[in-house]
Amino acid sequence: MAEADTNVSAASGAAVTLDGRFDIFPSSPLPQYDSPSAKAYLAQSKRDADDQLVAMLLDWKLPPQIDVMTTLRNFAPTGMTRVMEWGIVPWAPENRRLMVVVMERPGGDRVMAGPKATFDVFDEQQIIKGVLMPLIPVIRDLQARGQTHRNIRPTNLFFTDSQNHNVMLGDCFTSPPAFHQPAWVEPIESHMCDPSARGRGRLYDDIYSLGATILALAIGRNPVPDADQHQLLLNKINYGSYAALAAQHRVSMPIAELLRGLLSDDLKERWTIREIELWMGGRRLSPKQPKLPKRATRPFELAGREYFNTRALAVGFSLEWRSSAPAIRGPAFEMWLKRSLSEESVVERLTKLVGSAATKESGTGDGERLAARASIALDGPAPLRFKGLALMLDGIGDMVATSLDHPERRQILAELFQARLAPIWLAGQTEPKSDSARWQQAFERLPQFISSGTAGYGIERCLYELNAHIPCQSPIVERFYVTNMAELIWALNDYARNPGPAPKLVDRHIAAFCAVRCKQMSDQWLRPLGDSEQSSTYKIGILKIMALVQQVSKLEQAPDLTKVLAEMLQPVVESFNNLKQRKKMHADVEAAGKTGKTSELLALFNDMQVLDRDEKAYHAAQANYHRTASQISLLHIDAGNADHHAKEMGEQVAAIASGSIATLIASIVFLFYFI
């Protein structure tokens, strides 16, 4: 990744430079290369002006596919746009920094201009030479690098030249995997998913998408332009994908054979790259009948719909999640499985996964969890489904990212994490997943984060835990595309220049972002954020976080941020009861606020006992004041009685004085007379 430029506002219209090697021209959009999540602009190499390049500006709200882009560096096959460089640049038209990817510009136009556009039909030879020959190496190389494309669709295919002979794949890194894939090009499991949570998938998914794309190329249009998504899914399940997509279209026998292999719903039956290459070589295989799910002798009725197989019924349970619990608990369901379907294995799995939950109703949310568990038992490879959401575990991060602006979805996701369904889903998989241990571990932690309402936890924490590369989504710093601690300090310093009347330096996003990306930050740093924002512990907690982040960022100076922190801490200083200490602290804080180092400020507040000691001393002073006031009152009473005391004492004093004077003078007189 190219080193980020830390300016936000480059001159509007002027070219921005990426990594000193590529110029990007904001005034020269190339809308024909736009992807649904990224705008395309003209880019030019500084070394080779003849390079035909395009810069894709990514949506800052979506997680950038850094892993994919890293994989695609030095990617050899020519059947896909080559990634040249990526990085964060200042983008004046939007007054923010954005992630940009510079890639090779396809030589020709987009094959299919829009979802319902028509184009010239590809014949068998065109499909072999112009489509499969360039695309198969791409899929093979991606597999070798442990990646998938997940963006294979007719609208993401480009001609490589103006003769429209060969095609190449468009990007697969401007959005989460399969995010913009129409459901018809996705295999059944992915079709069921929410588009944002389809996950990286496997080679089989790319093969299926390739099959659906070839079908579209063979007929010159979308094979199911007006299909209802749900009905299309049920058709795929009940009749097989080939029948659902291709049965109503006329294609040549060889192409039909290819499509049957590519669109097979049984992974064991779906063609591999080897089989495609054999087909391209002219070897023809006997057409296989699609393997359909076992059909029941009589349907199971749910919410007025009839279902004939377990997979379709699982779809029904997830669709009717509000009302499916009584049906699952009822005797008719088990009887249907045993008698009409004779699926003893499913009954066993159901008993194992649903267990005693089916027989009792213990509280709110049990019905939804029961429907989710039953769906897993009926259809293991299907995505995890809960309260209308359907997701693959490796797509959960993307789903959280795209759900931030949807409170209802956020709530459902929170409930999903707390329901601890991921381990059950993993246990329900008939085929072991290679990364199941990783996901099991990740999902064990999510309920703890969700259950805490404090800043630094919640759905925001899940977002950053699940998305290693997403920039900080805080409204305070989002325009700076913050990806690490140094950028965070820099962005906060910029925010601090004009922070408004009540600056809030650490919101829920920033706290969660720091908790995940700053390895030195443990839970104890987040604890003060649970206190009232007016409290001293909260403010000192903010200061501690900022000081740690600045230390980690190795940025020596953050003058505006330090100044705002110093102002924020004034009420803490005011809470010192001792006026001398308060005055000294005011001066010290003001001086530290000018150093630009938050650690200098922290040094003044590091000893939390100071405030306690001050409080105790203050109470002691109050007690002394009131004790003294009591003594003064007593003395005033004494003063009132002084005349009485003085009279008594005065008479004694007068007598003693009189006696003493008389004795003295008498002695003198005696001496005078007798000596």
Binding site: D638, A642, M649, A654
Partner: protein, 166 residues
Amino acid sequence: MADFPAMPRSAQSVASKVIGGVIVVGVCVWVLPTVLVLVIGMVPTIVAFFTDRRREKYAAFCVGAMNLLGVLPVALGMWTRDHSMDSAMRNVTNVFNWFMMYGAAAIGWGLYSITPAIVAFVLRVQIERRISKMQGYQQELIDEWGEGVTESAKNAEDKQAAAAER
């Protein structure tokens, strides 16, 4: 020799009073001029004795000491020159002696009268000094801790709780 019966205790007392009285009378007769001067010169003391209602008789003591001092030179003059009734009469009729004897008594009265006021003044000054010192200490507390220190601990806690609620 026959034993005489012992005298009763009251008889002894009467006898000793009689003997004492005879001796006093004898002495008085012997120093009659001095007694005359003393009786006439010490009239203010006698008056003070009877007008002072306090048990301790501070007024009588105070006036008496000074009065005696005024009488003493007259008595000494008689003892050293002419201790006779004539001399006594001359002295008690001498205006200067009257002035000296009664003036001294008046000084005693004056002393008795003004000393309580002086003592009261001293006491008040002492109390005021102590009050002033304590108020100074309170001011030091205010200077160090602010006006809040004058509030009672309970008031302060109530204020803090109200602020926290806001």
